[in-house]
């Protein structure tokens, strides 16, 4: 059974990575790349509460939740890709035989319930905060913002070197082309958030030094949610009479779910990893169907429940009360198809699916820093100095697991205003130095160009007159895709820039 679990973990982890790499142009597969995110009950549960709307895309999450009632926390032990990463990480950590006092130390176990109820309370009052804690989101994010860019950096570095040498050029190119068509983005993704996201993730792994699956035991609110639902599970850990009370099962237990009496385990904590089955010398342990005989107390008192509610509300109050920089807010250009801002923040779980798929086409989406306030940290914004929104692309809406970005038709998207472009006449070449330039107008993708010209004579520094095409934006046409800013040849601050002004949002379906 332990081997079956390991194979399951491996398969689901590889499947997770496979789906991860599917989120790229042209995205023609029929499997949704955000399937794992949509299967996280925490994502499903909380986004529906915080947005007060039924989100169809997260139905798989409720299938998992329903299955948990009879089957227990199989998701944690057998599927969760973060759990698998933690298991692999834990396997590298050499541990001394734990002292009895350490095994009895379960003081932090309540924390995950505390976090869950704090998040739940906050979400009832419309502050969605699972983005910081959901394990699937955490893993997807660190992969997208840190590990993937490093992978790309190394791979493209290798190819740059190979192309410079020029040896076996045809073979090098075909290999390069293969990678370009499968895993490499259109340009090297670079994110400001990389370091912080990595530190958070590294913290989770470092906690493994304290105990096995420290995150899962004590912190993960998804585990807490599944634990509550698995209280009355129908899989029971059965210990036969051949048990010699050697205690090996208790030491091997990843979740420290086995009690002093080795025949009893905590069904809220047990993730059915079957380590205890494998480790038992007389093979006395097995898992069977039937009403569980384990202890099934949820390690959470009423007082703690109230405390966590207060914590959630305090967090909400602090975040909502914080100042919002209006200049920064102008830079928070949401992807095309984004729903109205408040609802957007309720739904956006900062998983970076949209950011990653965008990196394979226009590459404009970046996780925000503080452009959309504390509430919007790491939510996607279009940064035209990095990339631009491809006119014929709407992939971000196709991979959003919670419908924060709606999957709209291309026809609709091409008319949807993300923002509006403005000329900076103190920097734009024709305005600044009375010479034609027009790069912005050249690239403007609208069939009727949103950049028009005022053609007139201008006095040049030597006193002569010259006919110059002075560009201006027709704001009735501009959709704010940002290609003008992106391609503007002015060095430093560009001669044209896009802001979120006049942006149009889509009402959620």
């Amino acid at each position: 059974m332990k081997n079956a679990r390991r194979i399951s973990q491996l398969i689901f982890f590889l499947f997770f990575l496979f789906l991860f790499f599917q989120a790229r142009y042209p995205y023609e597969i029929h499997l949704p790349s955000d399937l794992f995110l949509r299967s996280s009950p925490l994502v499903g549960f909380i986004t529906i509460i915080s947005s007060r709307s039924f989100i169809q895309t997260v139905i798989p999450a409720f299938i998992i939740l329903l299955l948990t009632i009879p089957l227990g926390r199989f998701f944690c032990g057998w599927i969760c890709p973060l759990g698998t990463v933690i298991d692999i990480n834990d396997s590298f950590i050499k541990r001394k035989k734990p002292k009895r006092s350490e095994l009895e130390n379960r003081r932090l176990r309540f924390l995950k319930f505390f976090i869950l109820f704090a998040i739940l309370t906050a979400s009832i009052f419309s502050l969605q905060f699972i983005w910081l804690f959901d394990p699937i989101v955490l893993l997807t994010r660190v992969l997208t913002l840190t590990i993937y860019p490093v992978f790309v950096f190394l791979l493209t570095g290798f190819f740059d070197f190979a192309f410079k040498i020029g040896f076996l050029e045809d073979q090098v190119y075909s290999t390069y082309d293969f990678f370009q068509n499968t895993v490499l983005p259109i340009q090297r993704p670079e994110f400001f958030a990389s370091m912080l996201v990595l530190l958070l993730f590294a913290g989770i792994l470092v906690l493994g030094l304290v105990s096995k699956r420290f995150w899962c035991r004590n912190v993960c609110p998804l585990g807490a949610l599944l634990g509550i639902f698995s209280k009355y599970r129908l899989t029971k850990r059965y210990v036969s009479e051949s048990c010699t009370n050697c205690g090996k099962c208790r030491i091997s237990c990843k979740m420290n779910a086995i009690e002093d009496d080795y025949t009893i385990n905590n069904t809220v904590e047990c993730i059915e990893c079957a380590e205890c089955v494998a480790v038992c010398p007389p093979k006395a342990v097995s898992y069977r169907f039937g009403k569980s005989t384990g202890a099934n107390e949820i390690d959470f008192s009423r007082r703690r429940l109230i405390q966590s509610g207060i914590a959630g509300l305090s967090l909400l109050a602090v975040i909502k009360a914080a100042a919002k920089d209006k200049t920064q807010a102008g830079k928070a250009i949401r992807p095309p198809g984004a729903i109205p801002e408040d609802e957007f923040l309720d739904r956006c779980i900062r998983c970076q699916e949209c950011v990653r798929i965008c990196s394979s086409t226009g590459a404009c989406l970046q996780p925000s820093v503080l452009e959309s306030g504390w509430e919007g940290i790491w939510s996607p914004i279009a940064v035209a100095s990095v990339g631009y929104c491809e006119f014929n692309c709407k992939l971000c809406g196709q991979v959003c697991p919670t419908g924060a970005i709606q999957n709209i038709t291309l026809e609709k998207k091409q008319k949807l205003r993300m923002g509006t472009a403005y000329f900076d006449k103190s920097r734009c070449i024709p305005w600044y130095s009375q010479q034609d330039c027009l790069v912005c107008e050249e690239h403007c993708p609208l069939p009727d160009k949103a950049i028009k010209f005022d053609i007139r004579e201008a006095r040049t520094p030597d006193g002569s007159l010259r006919v110059v095409k002075f560009p201006y934006v027709d704001e009735t046409l501009c959709i704010g895709c940002g290609i003008c800013e992106n391609k503007c040849p002015v060095v430093g601050k560009k001669g044209i820039f896009v802001t979120a002004a006049n942006n149009e949002r889509i009402e959620p379906a």
């Binding site: 190819f159 403007c444 040849p489």
Partner: protein, 301 residues
């Protein structure tokens, strides 16, 4: 080799070369080659095939075993009907002709403005050229190398794509379309697709810069696809109302004359196009159409 022998041999070679020049001159005088041809009213493939045949066949430009670089305009994520990129059927036909002439390889590439894979696919060029036997390549950033431009007035050097320097034959194959900077974009402007770095910079003083770049690289053959032309809102287009279908291909070796002719399709005069006049003055070709040897053929006639 002894010095004496060397001198003798060089003298003999020199004589031979000058003799060949004289001979060549006579041949030229008998039948001066065409500077360019204009073929009208046919399918894109028919038009380019006829054009190359009239110029003496592809064998005149491509010898057996040579490597050919074909540079269409694949700049935009647009369909062939929108006339923002070179016609894919015409590109495929040129590929076939090169291979039939014995080319060892025909490589098709362009540095695109939109995402390259989108452009290669939607333009139809990737599939058509591959089917015809070409190797379709995407630009690799590390394959640009800085090239000196001795004749450059403003641009003294620029990174250019290495393939252009390494390949034996270079065929420039733009589409004729509207462009605000020069009125229209043709052969000269199409050369921007082999430029590295931030090429938008050259739009400032465009009419000098674009000639500078063209002094660095001379295409063996220029073929302008004017089967469909974009007459407004170029170079991207997008509205089919802005597309006209004159069904014309212009091909030849005098790139200035070719561009000068192509502007007439847009109801303009080369005299008013600054870069064409600059290129003429700097000796890159003949802008005065009354002084070129050309031929017009109407396939429907």
């Amino acid at each position: 080799m002894e010095r004496r022998e060397f001198l003798k041999k060089s003298a003999a070679t020199g004589l031979l070369i000058s003799a060949a020049d004289v001979l060549n001159y006579k041949l030229l005088a008998q039948e001066a080659p065409l500077d360019f041809v204009v073929i009208k009213n046919g399918s894109p493939a028919q038009l380019v095939r006829k054009a190359v045949e009239e110029l003496g066949g592809m064998g005149k430009f491509v010898s057996k075993g040579q490597a050919v670089l074909l540079k269409p305009n694949i700049g935009w994520d647009r369909t062939p009907e929108q006339a923002a990129n070179t016609n894919p059927e015409a590109v495929a036909e040129v590929v076939k002709m090169c291979l039939d002439a014995g080319a060892k390889r025909v490589r098709v590439l362009d540095r695109t403005c939109n995402q390259s894979r989108r452009c290669y696919q939607r333009s139809g060029i990737e599939s058509a050229a591959k089917k015809a036997g070409a190797e379709v390549r995407h630009i690799v950033d590390s394959r640009f190398s800085e090239v000196n431009i001795p004749e450059g007035e403003l641009l003294k050097s620029w990174p250019l794509y290495r393939d252009v320097l390494e390949f034996d034959v270079f065929i420039n194959m733009p589409i004729a379309k509207h462009h605000t900077i020069s009125g229209i974009t043709l052969g000269f402007k199409n050369m921007m697709g082999i430029m590295g770095d931030d090429r938008g910079k050259i739009h400032k003083n465009f009419h000098t810069n674009i000639v500078d770049i063209n002094t660095a690289i001379k295409p063996t053959l220029t073929i302008i696809d004017a089967y469909r032309i974009l007459v407004r809102n170029g170079p991207t287009g997008g509205n089919l109302d802005d597309v006209e279908i004159p069904k014309v291909v212009i091909a030849g070796t005098d790139r200035v004359a070719i561009d000068a002719y192509a502007v007439t399709l847009f109801g303009k005069d080369a005299k008013d196009i600054e870069y064409i006049q600059n290129a003429h003055k700097r000796g890159l070709g003949q802008a005065d159409l009354s002084r070129v040897k050309m031929k017009e053929i109407d396939l429907s006639a």
